[in-house]
Amino acid sequence: MAGSNLYTGTLDLLIIQTLSRGPNHGYGIGKSIRDLSGGILAVEEGALYPALHRLNKKGWIEGSWGETETGRRARFYSLTRKGRKALARETARWDQHARAVQAVLQPTEA
């Protein structure tokens, strides 16, 4: 993937996008991202937790301890209202950014 800054912002976006579909724990989030991207976006699991804490501090997600289906104790995160607003904003920005990159890469018509 490209430079780390971009990566961080992208990771945040991916996380909150995942959570928009429902609360999940850290492991589940990483797995979801990997599966949905067809294995291309393999999140470094150790980097996931700092991201989660960062998002928590920003107030975009909140976490509470709960139980998985298999009875394991895990910390579940869910999207806050602030996070939902941020998701819309960041998605739009990503779109704009992607199109800009695309425009530059496209050969200009003479």
Binding site: G26, Y27, E45, G46, Y49, H53, R54, N56, K57, E67
Partner: protein, 883 residues
Amino acid sequence: MKRLFRIWSFEPDPERDLADEIEAHLGLKVEELMSKGASEDEAWQEARRSFGDPERARKESKPHAASRERKHRAGEFLDSLSQDLRYALRTLRRSPGMTLLTIVILALGIGANTAIFSVLKAVFLQPLPFPEPEELTFVWNRNARTGGYGPTTFPDFLDWREQNQSFEAMGAFGGAYLNLTDGEDPVQIRGARVTAGVFDVLEIPPAMGRALLPEEDLTEEQVIVLSHHLWTERYGADPDILEKTVQVDGSAYDVVGVMPEVFYHPTPWGLTDPYLAWIPMPTDQWIHSRNSYSYQVLARLRDGISRARAQEDMNRIGATLEAQYPDTNENERAWVVPLHVLLYGDAAAIVLLVLLATGAVLLVACGNIAGFLMARAATRRTEMAIRASLGAGRARIVRQLLTESIVLAVAGGIAGLLLAAWSMGGLKTLIPPTFPRTEDIRLDAGILLFTFILSLATGVIFGLVPALAASRTRLTESLKEGGRAGRSGKKRLRTQNAFVVAQIALSLCLAHVGLLLVRSYGTLQELDQGFDPEHTLTMGVSLGGDRYDELEEREAFLRVLFARLEAIPGVTAAGVTSKLPLRGGTNGPTVTEEQFAQDPTTEGVLTEVSSVSGDYFASMGIPLLAGRTLTPDDADTIQPGVVINEAAAQRFWPDQDPLGRRFGFEGDNASWLTVVGVVGNVRQTRPGATPRPEVYWDYRVNPRVQMYLTLDAQGDPRELIRPARAAVLSVDPLLPVSNIRTMGEMLATDLSGREFYTLLVGLFSALAVLLAAAGIYGVISYFVAQRTQELGIRLALGAARKGLVLLVLRRALVIVFWGLVVGLAAAWIASRIISGLLFGVGALDPTTLMTGVGLLVFVGLTAALVPGLRGTRLSPVAALRAE
């Protein structure tokens, strides 16, 4: 399950949290890998590998976790605080009687302090209403040898102003009575002759026009500046006043300025009689004399110069003047005094005295409440033990109990505020008229803050020890016994005893002080002041201005006036004097003829001097002891005949006949005064002051402008006010009278400060003794309750009831004894501190001490008797069965 997790995560540990999270993550990964067929070991290896470095995760999460923890902790603290509050309220509601009683006692204690503090705030703590008031000073002249101080001379003032390096501005002034003779209603007002510097010192600009100019100093310029009060009251707030003139003593003065409402002219003697107008300092016969000490000086310090430095500066100048003018300025120095202390210090000292008394009462009340709480702690031991066993730390329990105390104290504080507000009206009537700024006394935001802080402090003071004691329970012991006996119970009793000993000590101290003050006041009140306060009326007249320039004019006025005054029915004698008793302060050093002959350089004796006329002595009720009173022939200015008082006779010619002897004022060798009569002593400066030697000469020897008419009434002197005033106006319709009052009123005003603090300190002492009695009652009740079983056994074994009561009383006596021992030491210290206020009774007067001791012993035994009798009245069976 979830709820259980919550309780366990009592203490947030972010490190553990994260570790758990990582652990869970790995666990889930392992699960997945295993479901795909890996073995557990392989799964764990793979999981750890793909996770990466957990250390990094931990490190990057730390700052977020820390702030999360802080928020969590804060939330938890607030949570437990509100829990404490709710629990405290519930507990207090459970024993409404005790709660209510405690709140009442606290209301009395805190309310009293609040009320008195509000007086202190208005009277003393408020700064002076001038810009940078801490720079304002008053400069006295002081004799370094005798310590006597007072106004200075004008030439000295000029030198001070010229040579000093410490003051930004300096002004001199002298009070004057100005007759405003315009309009139909002539009135005499209090005003001042000032140098323009006075306005520079005070730095408040005029509201209209201008203040006086330096060019106008020492001229006969007839310009005048009015005060706001005068402008509104007498001139109807006329907006065109600056174009008008006012008649002062018959002459027209141009109004050049009006001062704003907030302006006032500070002077040590004018708190109740402020200056209403200012005219330029005129030149007169005394302005160039270095012997005429009549000028008061206000000065403003330069920025950054301290009073001490200014004092050094002035000392230097004083030494210079002493060298230059050895005849007049020997030992004379300037004395720089902060204006704030000068004006308000005396009143503040009185209020502080009362505040100390109220503070003591509050402490005694705290002792009582602490005693209650200790006794109650015994009944709550089981509750405390259970809380401790559930994991509440000692600090937590103490905090809980302290919350209860603080809630009680704050409730008491609110009730106290209401009490203070309600009693404010009554308090204000007690406040002496001589106190400054009493109109500013009110319960404002500052007072509310004071009450709140006092309540918190009170809550901690009475709550801390019981809270600490209650939290010290030993689990098994309290759960087993549930009763009051046992080791911790004994310790509790000892602490309670200590509280009561302290209460008794404080009460004795306060009672002793109160008794001393009451005795002083009583002695002063009954004291013979030397004149008759019951039947004497006085009023001031100012024979100044053009119409009374000539001595004959004044004499004519007085002659006609006396005739008319004596014609009034009810008047038995009429006279006039230059100064009144209790208001004295015109004096000079005198030597007798014999002393002068022996040694012309003998130092004179400070002698008061009054110019009198008419039937002065009879009108004032001063008895004639030898010789005769003054006649017109005695008015010879070369060799006047004079009347002296007994003190002078004793001082100058002890045990000899003073009639016919001669003496004179130091430096005035030309005129010897011949004694023609001796009258009784009068206290010249204040009630109870030692009478100074005094000489009375006829008015014509030294005619003064400001005089006081004195009338002796057969009945009530106040009935003479109208006819006397009418008589004055009938002789001169343009001559106003001022300061009409009876000598009785003047005496009462002088004693009003003392009356105030004596009454209040006495009241609070009584309150403290009552509270101490309650304390003894409480602790003895507890003692009896503790020993119920023992007493029961003794009764069962045949002990006489009387013997048991005596046992209880003896216990009480021991406590009272220790209280008295500590109390005597405290009383010793306290009475030394107030010894300056005492009159006619020594600080350690044995009768007073014994009365105080006896009172407390009596009160203590009585208070102990009730629970003692009650406790031993139980049937032995009931006593034995009781816990």
